[in-house]
Amino acid sequence: MLMRVIFPAIVLLAALNPLVFPQWDAFLTIVFAKALPVIGIILLLQAGQVSFGHAMFFAIGAYTAGFVGRWMGGGGELVLLLLAALAISVLAGLFVGIFVVRYRYIFFAMLNLAFSMVLFSLLEKFIHITGGSDGLRIARPTLFGQEMSRANYEFGIYYVSLALLALAIFGAWRLMDSPVGHAMKAIKSNETRVEYLGISPRRTLLVVYVVSAALAGVGGALVGVFQGIATPDYAYWTRSGEFVFVAILGGAGQVLGALAGSFSFEFIRVTAAAYLGDTWQLTLGLMLLGIILFAPAGIVGSLVNVGNRWRGRRTREKPSPLGQAREAVR
């Protein structure tokens, strides 16, 4: 139901949106692009692992787009920039992954954080290469070989982001139901038995980690080329925390939670910033508290629960890790 009806309906509505409310395009482009790393976080959460460092791949994607664009001259070609960001973030995911998949839970989270902060420092300190805290300017690339006006370019990126997000959601949904996806869930509930089935938990985690890094890299490249700049902040830990926040907000049990969470997060941030001024972070914090206390399965998870109850089913969505922590305390 969720993936066979609601997901295509959302994609269709989003595809029609520029014809009706073109003023939302920029907002939604960011929503789509930032949902990509959140999908990666949701995939890792299947095995109960939280990364507080995925912003590093987000930054790697954005900076790769910037450097490759500069190297190609003019700004390069968007498709090539995205492919380059994908390739480099896969390599980076493989490199970091080899270390982090040896650890679990808080150690996994913190080691990811450490790697990302190393990258943040490098981006800040190597001013002559990265532009330091001023960031790296990303010139407007061509799109499918076409030079574009700013309006057409944004229109194009909107659809590129939407298409990539739809592809990623579908792919992640299939992945979660594949043997690898089920092995991830099995790692969460009983890693010893996974070994005794002849499955390598580390290799399984590494494969999914690389996928999650690739998603974050492509998301970062999209945000970078859309905003025309990559800054070290892209790799900062608050950005990593934001991805985890969004995953919990949207519901980590369903891939679609990434989109619901990303939309809600950006919506709250934009409206709170407009109407409540500097207190938008407070508003987001209260939202997170509310979700953990009253809807631990997140937005999509709670909707699924309501749907199940309505149809008389007993199954309930799993609460997010923070929701589980709360249940453990109770």
Partner: protein, 246 residues
């Protein structure tokens, strides 16, 4: 006749407790070998050693002539030694069938990202094994919801789904209602014979041992006190004193 699984001179201590002090034990093809002995004698430790979970301070364990010590549980599983647990070790959040399919997918080397787990071609095998152990009725239930007896059987079924050459079981029917024990063991032993699986099981229930084992090894004070056919071993006065009579 060459032993399939062979342990020699196994020594292992936990602090001051000696679990094994020069244990030698052979498992031959087609065996249903029961290991009996007082509580805490080291029977489960032996299974942990054979599957690579623990490393003894001394000794050798070979499988088809190949040294096992130093290999991981995963590598040993891949060689064809599967294990079932005394306390069922299931994937609590997944259904019984998903538990089984994961084992089958692993056995078949089909751990991909693109096919659905439910669509793998080994599904028929997995369902047949569930049928054999009498768990077809719960295959769509989430593992954590099962009663203890069923969990135990699914745990064994998971090991069987790996199509092992040797199956090591730790008290296969503890936790199963006593009225069902024999029926379950009948089907289990039948399934093992049908699949030509050699088995080793740790057991406390002497009736089970005399009924289903073709050989018995008595593990006591870190040694194999006696070994042989059940009618001979279980009537031995010393065995009765150390194990059965107590």
């Amino acid at each position: 006749m060459n032993a399939l699984l062979s342990a020699r001179d196994i020594e292992i201590r936990f602090g001051g407790v000696v679990a094994a002090d020069g244990v030698a034990l052979d498992v031959f093809e087609g065996d249903n070998l029961a290991i009996i002995g007082p509580n805490g004698a080291g029977k489960t430790t032996f299974l942990n050693i054979c599957t690579g979970y623990l490393k003894p301070q001394a000794g050798r364990v070979t499988f088809k002539g190949r040294e096992l010590l130093g290999s991981s549980p995963r590598a040993i599983t891949r060689l064809g030694i599967a294990r079932a647990f005394q306390i069922p070790q299931l994937f609590a959040e997944q259904t019984v069938l998903e538990n089984m399919l994961l084992a089958s997918a692993s056995r078949a080397g089909r751990l991909g990202m693109f096919t659905r787990l439910a669509d793998i071609s080994q599904r028929g095998d997995a369902e047949a094994i569930l049928e054999q152990v009498g768990c077809s009725d719960v295959k769509d239930r989430v593992a954590s919801e099962l009663p203890e007896g069923k969990r135990k059987l699914v745990d064994i079924a998971l090991a069987l789904a790996l199509k092992p050459a040797v199956l090591l079981m730790d008290e296969p029917t503890s936790g199963v209602a006593s009225s069902e024990k024999f029926a379950i063991m009948d089907t289990l032993i039948g399934a093992l014979r049908a699949q030509k699986v050699t088995s080793v099981f740790v057991e406390h229930d002497m009736e089970m041992v005399s009924r289903y084992a073709n050989r018995v090894a008595v593990w006591s004070a870190g040694r194999i006190q006696k070994e042989g056919p059940p009618d001979e071993v279980l009537t031995d006065p010393e065995v009765i004193r150390t194990v059965i009579g107590s």
